[in-house]
Symmetry: C2
Subunit: 514 residues, 2 copies
């Protein structure tokens, strides 16, 4: 165990007290455990057909593994047929590689152990939006994101009890050089939050930096045996894994870190337009990627990711919140369960440029279905606008409120005697009201989800309060949150080690824009 | 068969041609038939417990039947214990009365037979908002509704392919005397639409007027044996059926018309705060109401209605789109299926005053779950604002667009060879795109739901188009629809008979405000 790790663990007492002060809202709910069963849109026969089709894709069409000779060699050794960069797989090979060694669920450790998350099974972990070069808020409108925005979003996520995970590229800090910004991003996640976070995947050496920084926090030994980062590796659909993503995947797998293996499909462009067709292709791509991770290091925690949207057949633009991708989500979630690995999908996805009714319908349509589908890790839960090009401050607040509702939904129906409430019905009787009865008084505090943003007042009161729309109220909320933010405690020795590493790495190389 | 009915049927040819002209958008989809199974949030044991609790409420606490001596007599004859206005029921009495004679599903006939709807089983019928005294649009803001608004909403519903039903009190036309406005409302539904509609329930004699007008359209014999109106009878929760509602129920039941028997619950005020408690009470109230309809006339088509919302425990104001009422919705839908009657719930429910992000999240949260719950009749699908106090023109357009998406969701996954799309995946292969492939070209038109309101363009294009929010776009859409509206054909003889009846009834009585 490294010094840093030892110091961190020793500091638990003071850390907890400080953490408690910054979180006046009660105990930490590190992740959700769904009591509702997942909703199934296809029966056994339909799912088997899609699995059979995925094996046919893997066997007959194959998947390209590009710019990575080592990958091709690993596949050849494993029994696949390699033809140039095209890899074809005997039926069942990928599935058996995964089922032999990939865990069905795993813990991603946070530097605050109370915030470690369990990914897989009946558990759901919610994380903010990822990857936007732009931000939007009511004050500035839309503009390029900066490192300050990045920090703000990390802080807002830290302060949002419904979000369990700090996420990764919560926005692109474009005021920092491309080859250095990952250092500032990782530092921000560690320093301004104590929730688990995601690493850099844009180049193998940036993945190495991520792991190096994590080791300073958690200790070398701990990191090599425990996922402390979760890393998003996207396929280049259709049916291509490219060298950059494979490079990052290999670094993380060899370092004992967890990988989301995620086909990213705009159906109609990158997959067939149909639900069953897109699902079979996604399964084939994910099987190849997850099996590859097992070849690199057996036991690598992998998450089957599926990001699917439809496109406008007039303009080719991606569309969100429409029914077809929800069906893909349900199907691929079921396929992941049958395979026995955790599943990532969903989010507050929308095409709208602003936090208006379009944004909200679209986002709700994905958020609610993702929860019923039994998603284990939901990236993009809060903040998404404009197909992911922009992250919105107000949208973040609105989505995070919705995320809180998902927890209550997932809790299902309380069938205890208190839940059945027969005493209340007897006490009140016909024609009276329940407002003051014993049962209502006893359950007052927790009876109903309390939205932080919704205005449920009378029209007259709402008008007297300035006739604000939801975005306006959300604007006041994020400003108040940032004003009241206090960082979680960190061991000064760890902090110094992180800063030293980052300073050294920044001086070692010139700025680049790629 | 009355003359009117005969004339109507004869006029089919010309009517169809005119109807076709007014509906350029393709064949009529009269109602949905869900291919998805309903989602169940409780297992057998939980549902049985709630059923047992409902029987306990009926047996031990009882239900008040107020201001209706005939109802009390009917219950006494049926074997219930009557104590003042309180009726207590032997366990299983209500259930057996319903299961003995109420149909599991039924057809509500429209004057255009192609628009008749099937209510129950795997079918879902979507209807607009009901009951608002106010309207809102971007031009006028919020103001009292008028008969012109009523006609406009009937016309917009007629022109909305995703809405199958003309609804009832789509707004309260407050510029017409309370005791006469039902005549203008029924006439508007018949004249400006040819979709099925709902009757008046605010007084028994208004129910009689509804039936009389329906007879002029459909003929006396047809009406006495076939539901041509669907009528919303609300309980006065907790556990009270009042004389007005019972009076309307009796008129419709005796006239062979269909009745929605609907507990209306703001949990915490009119029921316990818990899901299982509210559901047991709702079931008890609905059982008593639906069984009463069978006592009045065995075989009366009844729909188990459940309108449940939570309240703000701070202010007592109703809240919408929160998770607890969605759970009640799933539970009561399952209870209706087990009982064997159609189920009504759901809608684009919201507390927001305006069509903003709050309105959209809240509405989507109910619309999507209502479809997955297997709702058979969804009132309030489009237009609701402000807890039902206001119906919004723009909100109507936005919700109707969402209703269109529900159809695609309900269709589930196409597992045909075309749906599996393996030929497309073979044709395109790794690294290419699907935009121009044979399969995409063949499925181009119907591949994805096309929203009428969403803006999926680039940020730059959206900005060039005026940076409009969804409500602004919806404003332009309803204006264009009303400008292009053409009424469906009606037999002049029927029209004259309707107008004569209404004129006579209006002169027979002075205006009243109750």
């Amino acid at each position: 165990m490294s010094d840093a790790r030892r110091v961190r663990l020793r500091a638990g007492g003071r850390e907890s007290r400080l953490a408690a002060r910054a979180h006046p809202s009660g105990p930490i709910v590190a992740y959700l455990t769904r009591k509702l069963p997942p909703f199934e849109v296809l029966g056994e026969e339909g799912l088997e057909t899609i699995e059979r089709n995925a094996e046919t894709i893997l066997e007959e069409i194959g998947i390209d593994f590009r710019d990575d000779a080592e990958a091709l060699a690993l596949w050849k050794d494993a029994g696949a047929t390699v033809d140039g960069e095209r890899v074809r797989f005997p039926r069942g090979l990928c599935r058996s590689l995964i089922q032999r060694s990939a865990p069905a669920e795993f813990v991603q450790h946070a530097r605050n152990p109370a915030r470690s998350v369990r990914i897989g099974g009946p558990h759901t972990v919610l994380a903010p939006a990822y990857g936007s070069p732009f931000i939007r808020n009511l004050d500035d409108g839309r503009r390029y994101a900066t490192l300050e925005d990045f920090r703000n979003l990390v802080k807002l996520t830290y302060l949002s009890p419904a979000l369990h995970h700090s996420g990764g590229t919560v926005c692109e800090p474009v005021d920092v050089a491309v080859n250095k910004r990952h250092l500032d991003m990782i530092y921000s996640h560690i320093r301004y939050s104590d929730k688990p976070f995601m690493g850099s995947v844009t180049a193998p050496e940036r993945a190495e930096d991520t792991v190096a920084l994590a080791r300073l926090v958690f200790g070398d030994d701990f990191v090599s045996e425990n996922p402390v980062t979760l890393n998003l590796v996207n396929a280049n659909s259709p049916m291509v894994w490219d060298g950059t993503m494979l490079g990052a995947l290999k670094v993380y797998a060899r370092s004992g870190q967890a990988v989301i293996v995620a086909p990213f499909v705009l159906a109609g462009a990158m997959s067939p337009v149909t639900v069953a067709g897109a699902s079979a292709q996604i399964l084939a791509e994910a099987l190849a990627g997850m099996a590859f991770a097992q070849l690199v290091r057996p036991g690598t925690p992998v998450v089957f990711g599926a990001f699917a949207s439809s496109i406008s057949m007039q303009s080719g633009a991606p569309t969100f919140g429409t029914p077809e991708p929800q069906l893909v989500l349900y199907v691929t979630a079921a396929l992941a369960r049958r395979l026995g690995v955790p599943f990532r999908s969903g989010g507050g996805l929308c095409a709208s440029k602003i936090p208006d009714a379009q944004a909200a319908y679209e986002s709700a349509n994905t958020l609610q279905h993702a929860m019923l589908a039994g998603v284990n890790f939901m990236l993009h839960t809060a903040g998404w606008l404009e197909g992911g090009l922009t992250v919105g401050y107000e949208k973040f607040i609105l989505d995070a409120d919705q995320a809180g509702m998902l927890r209550v939904l997932a809790d299902g129906v309380d069938m205890s005697a208190n839940g059945q409430a027969m005493a209340a019905i007897r006490e009140v009787g016909p024609g009276a009201h329940f407002l003051g009865c014993t049962h209502t008084q006893a359950n007052f505090e927790t009876a109903f989800y309390r939205s932080s943003v919704a205005d449920n007042n009378s029209f007259e009161q709402w008008e007297a309060d300035g006739s604000q729309d939801a975005a306006k109220r959300a604007n006041a909320i994020w400003k108040r949150m940032l004003a009241e933010y206090e960082p979680p405690a960190i061991d000064p020795g760890v902090d110094e080690a992180l800063r030293d590493y980052i300073a050294r790495r920044k001086t070692e190389q010139p700025d680049t824009s790629y």
